[in-house]
Symmetry: C2
Subunit: 272 residues, 2 copies
């Protein structure tokens, strides 16, 4: 199996994501990705160079800033060295008319301290307002996710807080709410902040079985009824809905921020 | 202010991260980044092309796959169009000896269903085992974070679960634990899973004041004492420690996975 090295003097998260995105275009090719972050000394670089030279035609993706390290890797790997910074920086310098000031780790650090604090605050908010535990302070929510148990509310909430700095609450629709076919009293004043999550009942059943193996909770009829009632409620109150069946948390979050929160009728957009 | 467009037929998270990493090298240049994800129809592309043509010399970073869309943008923006896929795919095709099969959104989707489920399971675990609430099942933890209140345990936990699929618990060291200078009974059997978080006491005080404005909890002497005692405990039991004062959650997580979990004495490495 081909070895793929991702090298960075910082977290390497961006270089890693780029490498994976590029390699995803070659679904038949098996490879093993190894990330080496924090290569911030000549000794650490040397150790990785040695590891690379022991492999057969490895690919090397790098966001290293140090010119010496990059020169060594270029000499060692030739075309197999993908130097993300070097490939774009000269062009940006030309376009912007200024010289780059290569700084390690400016992306995933806390250089933007205000925004970082906002993310941490948002996460506190989302932890407290998870699963309808606390319904006070909904006026401070940027988004309130609504849906039946196991439709994806909690992971989406935490992702929106961690990555977009959005104070996101979530509220589970339980049998009582679904029978009444009315917005729960705690939610009614905040219709404009609500986003509904729905899911295919069969998939919902599968997830619930994994969690608790038996009982009404995981019965297909129960899942079907809950989803049908929840969707009717969303329609009746004009609540935007996202179907989480086949998409990931990152995708749900991107849909919410780019399509729902971007609507002019909505209060605040994403922080980042 | 210069407009920077990030275009994608999917979430655009990778292209966005690359654009930010590249632009971070030009700290004096003010710009506004606008991400346009899910550009999956000619109409949506057309609307963005119009928005771009209204701007003065915008930069455009793209992970679009559609050749027609890319051709239009190339013609419109010339060198200001950064086409991440096109720039690297031909070279990868040459190196791998196979043709790319451009697929939209393979990166942030749930194509790898097993790994995705693992992340969701890890998140469930971390929510249940947050803040020492439940100390059962520590034998199933990949990592147990230990530290005083507000040292960064919860955000790091959730990040490790969401992004690395690691079942991460966290346990707060309270006055009783710190006075005894012994590992709490719940942690003692799992010394090999423990990672200590520490923080500068002045920074800790600042964070605590934001949370609850007064009392012993946010007094500087209290913060200093807690941190000193916690660090002594970590030293005494040979627990690896990360100082969270000046680094972000992403950085803390990258240090834990690349430096601590990678140690041969440790049980499991990261899942991704």
């Amino acid at each position: 199996m081909r070895k793929v090295f991702v090298l960075s003097d910082h977290t390497g998260l961006t270089a890693d994501a780029m490498a994976r995105a590029l390699l995803a275009q070659f679904p038949g090719e098996e490879h093993e990705i190894v990330r080496h972050p924090f290569l911030d000394s000549p000794e650490k670089v040397e150790a990785v160079v040695e590891a690379i030279s022991r492999e057969e035609a490895p690919l090397v993706f790098s966001s290293l800033v140090d010119p010496e390290a990059r020169k060594r890797l270029q000499a060692l790997c030739g075309e197999r060295f993908f130097d993300f910074f070097q490939d774009y920086t000269p062009r940006l310098e030309r376009l912007l008319g200024v010289k780059a000031r290569p700084v390690t780790g400016s992306l995933h650090g806390i250089a933007n301290h205000g925004l970082y604090q906002e993310r941490i605050r948002a996460l506190d908010y989302s932890m407290i307002h998870d699963d309808g535990a606390v319904t006070r302070n909904y006026e401070n929510a940027d988004v309130i996710l609504v849906g039946v148990s196991r439709s994806g509310k909690t992971p989406t909430c935490l992702y929106l807080a961690l990555h977009y700095g959005l104070q996101t609450a979530n509220y589970p629709l339980v049998d009582d709410d679904l029978e009444r076919n009315e917005l729960p009293a705690a939610l009614a004043p905040y219709r404009d902040k609500l986003v509904g999550l729905t899911i295919d009942p069969v998939q919902l059943q599968r997830i619930r079985i994994q969690r608790r193996s038996s009982g009404r909770y995981a019965a297909l009829e129960q899942c079907q009824w809950e989803v049908r009632q929840a969707e009717a409620l969303f329609r009746r109150h004009g609540i935007p809905v996202i179907d989480t069946t086949a998409i990931s948390i990152e995708e749900i979050a991107a849909h919410i921020t780019s399509e729902i929160l971007a609507q002019p009728s909505r209060g605040g957009g994403p922080a980042a």
